[in-house]
């Protein structure tokens, strides 16, 4: 049998290939996310200082809400037959979690990268501390992908997809807060290390929880 990482890479590659073929993230989720960012200025009017102040918060909120859709999509399109196939291939449950979370991470990174210029243009936000944001964007993508993948596994194990937002939203609030506070901190030149640490700790905790719960959740799905 291939190693854990070989299995995870193959699974991630399969998910990405499937996504590229369907084009759902690029063709549907990104345009809807951009439209959501556009609706806020329409609602609050052309109050430039206000838009500049709320811009980062709006960006991260849209990333959170639409990012969940990105992370649960793959789990939603696969059924019992694919579940059984992987089980009988002897695929390590933790490798399945790692592969899916990895693919979701790359898709979320793309999603965030495509939405960022839209937010900058619409809200005229000063991209202060640009280099720090290069660290924050992957940290948020990692956290959301781990959280979404874990939530989709839990929801699948109890056969209730409606659980996903109920699991994701409360747990994503600290990430949203941290990302927004870091962006604001960079703008007003306040310290951001505490919030950065929070993101790192959340990512690590979610990775550990995902790997440890992978097999029990997989077996419960059957």
């Amino acid at each position: 049998m291939p190693s854990f990482w070989r299995q995870a890479i193959e699974l991630g590659r399969k998910d990405l290939r499937t996504e590229v073929r369907s084009g759902e993230v690029l063709m549907i989720t990104v345009p809807f996310g951009a439209a959501a960012l556009m609706l806020i200025p329409l609602a609050v009017g052309t109050d430039a200082p206000l838009l500049e102040r709320i811009g980062p918060g709006m960006y991260w909120s849209v990333v959170l809400l639409f990012g969940v859709l990105v992370t649960v999509r793959q789990s939603a399109v696969e059924g019992q037959a694919q579940e059984d196939l992987l089980g009988l291939l002897g695929v390590d449950a933790a490798a399945r979690f790692a592969g899916r979370a990895g693919a979701n991470f790359l898709l979320l990174l793309l999603f965030e990268a495509l939405l960022a210029p839209v937010a900058l243009a619409l809200y005229d936000t000063d991209p202060a501390g640009f280099w720090w944001l290069l660290a924050v964007i992957p940290l948020v993508a990692a956290g959301l992908s781990l959280l979404g993948t874990l939530a989709a596994s839990i929801a699948r194990s109890v056969a209730s997809s409606t659980l996903v937002p109920l699991i994701v939203v409360p747990l994503a609030v600290p990430m949203l807060l941290a990302a927004t506070q870091i962006t604001e901190g960079l703008r007003i030149q306040a310290t951001i290390l505490g919030w950065l640490l929070l993101l790192v700790v959340m990512d690590l905790l979610l990775a550990v929880a995902g790997v440890l719960s992978a097999r029990p959740l997989q077996e419960a799905t059957r």
Partner: protein
Amino acid sequence: MLQDIVDLKGIAVRIGDTPILRNLTLSVAPGEVVGLIGSNGSGKTTLLRVVATLLPPSEGDGTVLGAPLRGTGEERYAVRPRIGLIGHVPGLYPNLTLEENIAFIARMRGIPVSEVPLVLDRVGLGLARGRKAAHCSHGMQRRAEFARLVLTKPDLLLLDEAHAGLDPQAADLVAALVAGARSRGGAALVVSHEHARIAPLVDRFVELRAGAVADTEWSRT
């Protein structure tokens, strides 16, 4: 004496309050092929999932390829790659081509990907290898599943209505798969409504009725 490949004792499966299998005892010896027949809802598919170790029984005990159906699970996980299941719904990824589907399986099992075109040729899909699974007919999807079994060579074959909707050439592939498992000292459980169609393949039939083995169990000979 060789250990039975499937050895179930008093198996019961309940989903909620509904009994699906009741006090079911069944054994399948190495080299043996058993035909499972029964009306809709008699528990055939559930029984195959129990034997595949994918569904833990609510009651009873037993072993599959020597691994206990109950317990910690490590042995159960270890034998799963030796089991080949074809269910009602094809275990294919619809957005991948047939070749990509089988190559994915090869990589996950550490089998050289160079074998994939040969296997696809063998099941008659050589010319359709670049077609997405979603764009293939039911028969072609079934053939792709046969390709998976040709590639992985399982010791225990579980075929759930594998003949349904197949042309005679594809049906011959089922016979070849069953013969292959038998020659490796493995075994097969073949489910079908058309008991005449699988009669040439099997050593004996077991009829399920309301989740239990009915009185009628007879040998082909």
